[in-house]
């Protein structure tokens, strides 16, 4: 029986005898598929580990988003928030946006520290390193799901009757946001492995982005922020799904589709970069 052999050279790793086009892309996809169980295990490990040795345990995963919800509802009731008419009660509007935003911000932050957190494991065990990024990003997806359930509760509280088709489409439209999150996640993971600056920069950028992107407020179409946001991928990827959920339709889809395609391209590119660069980065993490 012939044994499958791997060849390591300065140019990268190859499987002996394998030929054809897109060798690297094929190798990285098959690696990720083979690692799906590992991704799930790593996710469980981090998720459970985070809430161990706390009295409330896993309840924290729900409590923190719940706190945000409570704050928005309370502010709305006391009349602090005067955002103008968004067609639905403001908390429902803001929380829907925040739900999508949390997928992006939680996922990206987790990705940026995924390699560093893995510590000595990286340099001792040979395993698919992309699993670390995928499992980190999964934290964002879980955060999204938890918040989505809570937001649904808020909808019920305000007696908003949802348009089921809009909700279905809105949830489906989270996919490009995931692609963007993973696409950026791979690059911040690998660059953050070498340059620790990334960890600090990410927090600053996310904080700025949350304010600049019309997530917590509707935008006036003629303002400077609106023009800036034409080029803000997050704006398209969050506001189109939100429009679909709240109103059943969005005024424009062009930006959304362009961003979605670019996000997919970004993911393929950075994932490949990660795959090619991992050996070089690991000696420096």
């Amino acid at each position: 029986m012939a044994i499958e052999k791997i060849i390591y050279t300065p140019e990268g790793q190859f499987i002996a005898g394998q030929q054809g086009s897109c060798l690297k892309v094929r190798a990285m996809v098959s690696e990720a598929i083979g690692a799906r169980e590992l991704i799930w295990r790593l996710f469980l490990r981090d998720f459970r580990g985070r809430y161990r040795q706390s009295v409330l345990g896993i309840a924290w995963a729900v409590l923190l988003p719940f706190a945000t919800v409570a704050v928005f509802v309370a502010m709305n009731r006391s009349g602090v928030l005067t955002i103008g008419d968004v067609g639905v009660p403001y908390p429902a509007y803001a929380l829907t946006g925040l739900t999508y935003w949390s997928l992006f911000s939680t996922g990206l932050t987790a990705c940026s520290i995924s390699l560093i957190n893995a510590g000595s494991m990286l340099t001792k065990i040979n395993f698919p390193k992309s699993a670390l990024v995928f499992s980190a990003g999964a934290q964002g997806i879980v955060e999204f799901l938890i918040r989505a359930v809570l937001t649904a509760g808020v909808f019920a509280w305000y007696g908003i009757t949802p348009d089921w088709r809009g909700i279905g489409l809105g949830l489906l439209c989270v996919v490009p946001l995931c692609l963007l999150m993973f696409g950026l996640g791979f690059i911040v993971a690998i660059v953050g492995g070498i340059f620790r600056d990334v960890l600090n920069a990410i927090n600053a950028v996310l904080a700025g982005l949350l304010v600049l992107t019309p997530i917590l407020y509707p935008i006036r179409p003629d303002s400077l922020v609106a023009i800036m946001n034409t080029f803000n991928p997050i704006n398209h990827l969050i506001n189109v799904p939100r429009d679909l959920i709240l109103y059943g339709a969005s005024p424009t889809y062009t930006g959304f589709w362009i961003t979605a395609i670019l996000s997919a391209l970004l993911l393929v590119t950075t994932w490949r970069l990660f795959f090619v660069a991992q050996a070089r980065v690991l000696e420096r993490v």
């Binding site: 052999k5 390591y8 169980e37 459970r48 990286l122 001792k124 340059f195």
Partner: protein, 407 residues
């Protein structure tokens, strides 16, 4: 049967960078090149880089075991990492089967907050086992680790021994074509070590093994061939006993004699002589040996203690010749200069190099008149390196009757 080599290492070199700043810069440059598919820059060293591994080549077949020895920083662990595919070589080529098992710092990847039970599943997944496989082997793992009720405690409450036990038990479930081992047997208690040896023996039967160790008995026992690395280069590659002797000589060259003590007496010369009375630097294990040294003293020392101490490369005091222990009274007169001959009938220390220190002490062994540290060295040669410091060659007889029949 001439089988195809499992591992083929061909002119592998690896450079590292001493300065963090340059390291980051070069990292970014190399990344850009790799990604764009450009050829690597010139292979020469850039500023503050050095070759951690330089032109290493070897081949290993199934059933063979290569021992890697060398001083700290010689590049042994780097070579293991390249074989394991964790870091890429800067020159050369490595061909290895896909199924590589590494017993290197077992238990890394454990989450301290999770229980041993949960960590078994996580760690198994990292090593590439499916959940079904892990579930099937779970009892075996727990049994091997033998950590009792602690299996349901968070791993952070484990002693370092238990940590390693559990890690090893999981890693031992692999069925690799190539097994990489890095100094694993330095940990755990005696009982666990013997279990590990058995397990490695079982795995090694059907794989090619590369292992790094500073424990020469283990190297002598496990390896079929041994490679000595020094400053990233292959300094010797061949028979384990010769390799170990070569390794010991690397340290011998670094030996620096030092002198302590009152200075009122002086051991001014010391030679090691063979049975024929010729000065030698090495002898065959079990041969007779004489140490000759000259003592000059300015003061009178009654019932003095002359002490010869043999120290191994591992800095353990392994043997001693002491006239007080031997029951020989020596009185030194002021102003005298004498020669002392110490005859040892059968010098049977374990194969290796030993540094000799010589002391002139008072009868109660408190006053140090002279203490010559590492004044000389002697190499003991043998085909096999044993475990214990003292190796009795002994007479061996075999008989099937309960009485030993003398002929």
């Amino acid at each position: 049967m001439s089988e195809e080599p499992l591992i083929r290492v061909d002119g592998v070199s690896k450079k590292f960078c001493k300065s963090l700043k340059h390291n980051m810069l070069y990292g970014a440059q190399d990344l850009a090149r790799n990604f764009l598919g450009l050829p690597r820059g010139r292979a020469e060293l850039r500023e503050s880089e050095f070759w951690s591994l330089d032109d290493i080549s070897f081949e290993l077949k199934r059933g063979e075991c290569l021992g890697l020895i060398g001083p700290n920083g010689a590049g042994k662990s780097t070579l293991l990492k390249i074989l394991n595919g964790i870091i890429a070589p800067d020159r050369g080529r490595v061909e290895t089967p896909r199924r590589v098992g590494a017993l290197i710092e077992v238990g890394s990847g454990f989450h301290p907050m999770l229980t041993g039970r949960e960590n078994i599943f996580v760690n198994s997944a990292i090593l590439g086992f499916s959940k079904q496989e892990t579930t099937r082997k779970f009892d075996e793992i727990v049994d091997f680790a033998d950590i009792g009720d602690f299996i349901d405690s968070p791993v952070k409450h484990y002693s370092s021994g238990m940590h390693v036990r559990l890690g090893f038990a999981i890693a031992a479930q692999m069925q690799p074509d190539v097994l990489l081992i890095d100094e694993i047997l330095a940990v755990g208690d005696a009982g666990f070590r013997s279990k590990c040896y058995n397990c490695i023996g079982r795995l090694a039967e059907r794989s090619a093994v590369v292992f790094v160790s500073h424990a020469m008995p283990a190297v002598s026992r496990l390896s079929t061939r041994t490679m000595v690395l020094d400053h990233g280069k292959t300094s010797f590659h061949g028979h384990p006993a010769e390799a170990i002797a070569h390794y010991h000589r690397l340290f011998d060259n670094q030996m620096r004699p030092t002198r302590q003590g009152l200075g009122s007496a002086c051991i001014h010369s010391l030679q090691v002589l063979d049975a024929a009375g010729c000065p030698v630097r090495s002898i065959v294990q079990g041969q007779g040996l004489t140490v000759r040294f000259g003592v000059r003293t300015d003061v009178a020392i009654t019932n003095t203690c002359l002490d010869l101490v043999f120290v191994s490369i591992a800095d353990e005091v392994v043997a001693e010749c002491n006239n007080l222990v031997a029951g020989k009274t020596i009185n030194l007169q002021a102003g005298s200069d004498i020669h002392v001959y110490v005859h040892i009938d059968s010098f049977s220390l374990n194969a290796g190099i030993y540094r000799i220190s010589a002391l002139v002490l008072s009868a109660d062994m408190i006053m140090h008149y002279d203490w010559q540290k590492d004044i000389a060295s002697i190499e003991v040669r043998a085909d096999r390196v044993g475990v214990a410091g003292q190796q009795y060659r002994a007479r061996w007889t075999l008989t099937d009757s309960p009485q030993e029949t003398s002929k």
